[in-house]
Amino acid sequence: MCDACGCTSSPPSQKDKPLKLMSAVFAANNDAAKHNRNHLQHHGVLAINLMSAPGAGKTSLLEATIDALSGRYRLAVIEGDLETENDAQRIRAKGIPAFQINTGSACHLDAVMVHDAMHHLDLDTVDILFIENIGNLVCPAAYDLGQHFNVLLLSVTEGDDKPAKYPVMFRIADVMLVSKTDLLPYLDEFKVERAETHLRKLANRAPVIPISIRNGAGLSQWIEWLEQQFHSLQQNVPALPEKDHQHL
């Protein structure tokens, strides 16, 4: 009963107060990613998020990329793995600074982890930063790290329908590298064109580059793509000084 006039309608109850919010659950990560992106932009650093299933050849690709670019570009790598420093050691053996993130049991990198890792690198001395994500075609897709581009590796031993099976990941690819193509003669069931068709069905027009680290096929096309992105980023670097860098 309503206290004010004694009528039978109930007054608006404070009980079970619904708060309409409509905010993104990933808001905190997205804010951190935006912060990373500004930071990278200020230093004129191109950041590449390298993703694939485990064992598709991300670290081998990085080694070959370092060989092709060193002397002309200053490179750095953030390595993500559940355990071990193995990948960072492989990169350091090439004379390139590498910071290893060990996530323990976490299946993806997030923007805060990458932010902390970036503070272990001197971004003033870096042109291109590679972030080698955890080998996983599911979870990393949900986390923006502040990268400029997503590079997806699909190795020919995995099956050419991966883009159809993992659409959340493949739809965000800015370039898809079909790796280990030197094995194609032994794998009748994998067709590069079929992998590309599955990617196109996600309305993704990203370039598809078949590549083999072993025989060097496609490497020049990949390097050319990378250099193009670096130069177009340089043309868009803001001349304004960075606002005071607030640590997260």
Binding site: K17, V25, A142, P167
Partner: protein
């Protein structure tokens, strides 16, 4: 697998909101989830039930509304629901489509029991 991380982010976000309403008990959370959010509704539900014990969320019901994947076709200008791995326009078969719904994981509503 990352649904536990998502659950943690959700709980942190809701805790901040609940703190603005002293004495309020969190009794309900309503989410919208699209197939491109990268988060599985069932796994998130499990993660929440597992994580909520002996926390501020112990009495909280999580409900997740699954949203469809929708595209707008730039060729025939129709909006349609589509399958998650084939974004071909069901009307004109064009692949010149853009996503207009289904990427979201949204905290739509929080229900507080205020004394």
């Amino acid at each position: 697998m990352h649904e536990f991380s998502v659950c943690q982010a959700l709980m942190e976000q809701v805790t901040v909101i609940a703190d603005q309403h002293p004495g309020g008990r969190i009794v309900g959370i309503h989410l919208y989830n699209g197939p491109l959010s990268g988060v599985d509704s069932t796994l998130l539900q499990h993660a929440f039930e597992f994580s909520k014990k002996e926390t501020l969320f112990a009495d909280c019901l999580l409900s997740i509304e699954n949203h469809p994947l929708r595209v707008h076709c730039r060729n025939c200008l129709n909006d349609r629901e589509i399958a998650v791995n084939d974004w071909t326009c069901p009307v004109c078969a064009s692949l010149d489509t853009e996503v207009i719904g289904g990427e979201e994981l949204i905290l739509a509503q929080v229900q507080l029991d205020v004394p």
